[in-house]
């Protein structure tokens, strides 16, 4: 129990390889067990240090530096075929390809859709193409693709119309007309199958028109000749 008190001091003395402090020294004079323990610990630390020193102070093999110089010479010798022209040309080609394909790959989905679909797209849910004429349900969002936020470039939840900026006003008026069920507007957006088409192809009947011959009096004829200077 008494020796446990000195355990840390004993280990410290062994590890530091120095003289123990006065208190420990006094204890060691009286305690054979602790003297043996200290000697044993010192031996262990000494063995560790010897093994480490032997290992980290080992000289490199005789051919080590010569081999190293050889490797450095190889490093300095330019490799055949390593012409920089090809490196530069390859890098330039890669840049050109990136410049061409990067905008296509990273274009917003609305632009890609624009290339593939007609500019105006109105879904059936808008009620415009159905004969039920539910104009109140018509929801058409006008949005120009360049102002579209990136976060909303995913699959749209509502039908949308992609309209160039200069045509937005006109389309807005048209949509308003459809919403008010204007006959003309509805007729335009109603599919041909639902329309009542006049199939009468006969020409309209027009009454004959009589055109009298042009007759001039003699006095008027003389007057006309004098004005125009011609006898015809």
């Amino acid at each position: 129990m008494t020796c446990n008190k000195y355990e840390n001091a004993l280990l410290l003395a062994a590890a530091s390889n120095g003289e123990p402090d006065a208190t420990l020294t006094r204890h060691l004079e009286r305690c054979l067990k602790c003297r043996i323990a200290l000697r044993s610990e010192r031996e262990l630390f000494s063995r560790i240090d010897r093994a480490l020193r032997a290992r980290v102070n080992e000289d490199p093999p005789p051919g080590f530096l010569a081999q190293l110089r050889l490797q450095l010479s190889k490093e300095l010798t330019p490799r055949p075929g390593s012409n920089r022209v090809w490196h530069v040309a390859g890098a330039a080609l890669a840049l050109v390809l990136i410049a061409i394909f990067y905008p296509l790959v990273n274009a917003p989905s609305s632009v890609q859709g624009n290339l593939q679909r007609p500019a105006v797209r109105v879904s059936r849910s808008a009620g415009v193409t159905q004969s039920a004429h539910t104009g109140e349900d018509l929801k058409v969002r006008l949005r120009h693709h360049s102002k579209r936020p990136a976060a909303q470039s995913a699959v749209p939840q509502e039908p949308e119309v992609l309209v160039p900026p200069d045509e937005q006003k006109a389309l807005a008026q048209f949509v308003a007309c459809v919403a008010r069920r204007d006959a003309m507007a509805e007729a335009v957006v109603t599919p041909a199958a639902n329309k009542t088409v006049n199939t009468n192809t006969e020409l309209p009947q027009v009454s004959l028109v009589d055109i009298a011959d042009l007759q001039l009096g003699r006095a008027r004829q003389q007057e006309w000749i004098s004005e125009t200077g011609s006898s015809e």
Binding site: A15, R55, E58, F64, L72, E75, N83
Partner: protein, 183 residues
């Protein structure tokens, strides 16, 4: 085929470039002997056999040569080399241990050495190696550098860019941990 030259690079600038390169090479070669040995010893402190340490030291020297021209402060080259070598040696040691584990699965049937002396000597080395692998990397590096001849604690502190007190505490902690494992 005519050799490619960068725009603006005349014969004079090319000559200056080559001279600078040659000067760097000479400067590196002056350090080669001293630093090559240092790299080998650091690697040897981490790895079990000298052949592996030689490979790692060569690789570390080649890497340091490639980056030598970009080193702003050449006086810190030794510290830089120590870190590169230590890191490479650790990586090499890890892959070697994995390889050994793979190979030991079929090598267990091989006859073992009968010489007890060799076995006893190797036993301490093997246990020391295991105990060192278990140490934190910072403590391990301090232990290796402090064990090298001619490396006072101040020199170790300079190489690792840490205060001398930190070196002392790391060294003490590392030796204590080793002793606990080897007791």
């Amino acid at each position: 085929m005519q050799e490619f030259t960068w725009p603006g690079r005349t014969a004079e600038t090319g000559l200056a470039f080559d001279l600078e390169k040659a000067a760097l090479r000479r400067e590196f070669e002056q350090r080669l002997e001293e630093c090559g040995t240092l790299a080998f010893r650091v690697a040897r402190g981490v790895l079990r056999n000298a052949a592996d340490a030689e490979d790692v030291a060569q690789e570390a020297m080649l890497r340091s040569y490639r980056c030598f021209a970009r080193l702003r402060d050449p006086s810190r080259f030794r510290a830089w080399l120590v870190r590169i070598t230590f890191r490479l040696a650790l990586d090499h040691g890890r892959s070697a241990r994995r390889r050994e584990q793979r190979e030991s699965s079929w090598a267990t049937d091989l006859p073992k050495s009968t010489s007890e002396d060799i076995a006893a000597a190797n036993e301490f080395g093997r246990r020391l190696q295991e105990a060192m692998v278990a140490l934190p990397e910072k403590s391990r590096l301090v232990l290796l550098l402090a064990g090298m001849d001619g490396h006072a604690l101040e020199e170790v502190a300079k190489l690792l860019h840490v205060p001398v007190g930190t070196v002392k505490s790391r060294l003490h902690s590392a030796r204590k941990q080793l002793a606990e494992k080897l007791r």
